[in-house]
Symmetry: C2
Subunit: 308 residues, 2 copies
């Protein structure tokens, strides 16, 4: 009975340390180190190399280290009988709320433009937006999307929500799947917080941008493959969109040759909107590991038929 940690970004030791300090009795292994494969019952993963799960015949559950699980579904060695969990972390939620709020205000007040003007010693007042001038449309009303929508509505922003199945949230006008066009035509700050599924892959493309009012802004904090980068650049360069703040990319770190780096109206951040903290997440994983061992229902289990 043991947990296997699989991630490739050099941060595995932080996660092992978190287990050691919180539950030293639980056996944990880095997949890169020798380990007894037959003992592994839970795999804790973040963007794991594909094809490994087949090697673990006693594996019962694959747990994501974050809110996203798309990279587990994409792995052909993920078998249908395996359980899947994701992280629902209050810290991840407040971080996302605060990051999106920060980007909304920076856009409204033109802070990036002023910072750019500073580098050329240019003193020039620019037009700006007031809260009442913008309507924030949130795509994806799951845990992060709903919380972010509520946090913005409490501040007095006009907020719309769009999701597969229509949600009822006080103070927020919500739209269901087929009403995407209605949602888009009323939105001028579009926030993507969708799960990545075959349905949503590439959804942020020219035909979607064209339905937003002229001068709209995109805040993309979901998953890289939602966005067709060249379509965004084209929509900005032809003057339809006014710019974008992008935190997530199909390849991370973002290739230094990617045109986003040098685009004056695209602000990129290094997938920092909401970062799983090992200390906080490991506490949840231990609870679920104990539930798994005693055959109790898991917390934050993913409906593998829906994909999120």
């Amino acid at each position: 009975m043991a947990i296997l940690l699989i991630r490739q970004d050099g941060k595995t030791s932080q996660w092992l340390n978190a287990f050691n300090s919180q539950a030293s009795q639980i056996e944990c292994y880095d997949y890169n180190e020798p380990h007894p494969k037959e003992t592994i019952t839970m795999a804790l993963v973040w963007k794991q190399p594909h094809g490994l799960f087949d090697q673990y015949k006693n594996l019962k559950c694959v747990a994501s280290m974050g809110a996203g699980v798309d990279f587990i579904f994409e792995d052909p060695s993920f078998r249908q009988e395996l359980l899947m969990t994701r992280v629902v972390d209050p810290l991840l939620i407040t971080d996302m709320e605060e990051f999106v709020t920060a980007q909304v205000y920076a856009h409204m007040k033109g802070l990036y433009q002023y910072y750019s003007q500073q580098s050329s010693s240019l003193w020039q007042q620019n037009p700006y937006l007031r809260k009442k001038d913008i309507t924030i449309g949130i795509m994806g009303m799951g845990v992060l999307g709903s919380a972010t929508a509520k946090a913005l509505a409490i501040q007095g922003f006009n907020v719309l929500g769009w999701s597969n199945s229509k949600k009822q949230i006080e103070g927020i006008t919500t739209y269901e799947k087929l009403d995407l066009d209605l949602f888009l035509e009323k939105t001028n700050v579009l926030v993507c917080l969708l799960p990545l599924t075959p349905d949503t892959n590439g959804i942020l493309k020219e035909s979607l941008f064209s339905k937003l009012p002229s001068g709209s802004y995109l805040i993309h904090v979901a998953r890289g493959p939602h966005l067709v980068g060249e379509d965004l650049i084209q929509s900005i360069d032809n003057g339809h969109m006014c710019g974008a703040a992008i935190d997530v990319f199909s390849t991370e770190p973002l290739d230094t040759k990617n045109p986003f780096w040098e685009h004056p109206n695209i602000q990129i951040t290094p997938h920092c909107a909401s970062i799983s903290s090992p200390e906080s997440v490991v506490t949840q994983i231990i609870v679920n590991y104990n539930r798994l061992m005693s055959n109790q229902p898991l917390l934050n289990q993913v409906d593998t038929s829906k994909g999120y």
Copy 2:
């Protein structure tokens, strides 16, 4: 019976147009154009050249075009028997609330640092602050300061207020004049919204910064002369303060040789936090002009004995 407009930044025609469209029966003159001096009963001013008021023997009231009136007090030709008014404009208030909120979030999430990293194609996640990590201390709890404090408190920020006379505002811990040190030691995002008076001139100096906790940030949106620029730079360069967002300067536009332009931890904006809109302000001025003509008490009159 006429109004004289005095400002030197080339924007007078916008103000004359606003009068023409809202009250074409009121005579208005640009001080730079020929005008019948004996008819002038009200001067509407913004950073007027000093010494002019003596030429208008029927002048009864000097009205600021904005929230600040320091430049009227500094004019030796402002006689004690003259009335003085300032602008209290709901738009100025919400603009200030939104601008300060924008700078608070940009600081918390390190948006300027990421924008700077983008220019050198650097992918690097940095530490950031959460709402719960910061305490915003607002110096000056007048109309703008109180409104900004309330707007931040509603969003869940921990907010303190400091002012000459202690204010009672729900959700905000307030300090009076003598408790400045107590206020400073609990603040790590300091927002200056003080009026400029002989007492507050130069108040943002090394001995004040040194009482803030290490790593504090300054958002200065009041008046240029509140701040001793070299003291701020020294406090940042020696590592005590982490940076500042400054919107107001003793000389505007800011001299291109000023070291603020090139300082990596100082973000400057061109006095854009809250800009009087001629259309909105002229409506108030017309009301007060009519009250002046009919000997009724003026709205938003300044207590010239207090200086604000």
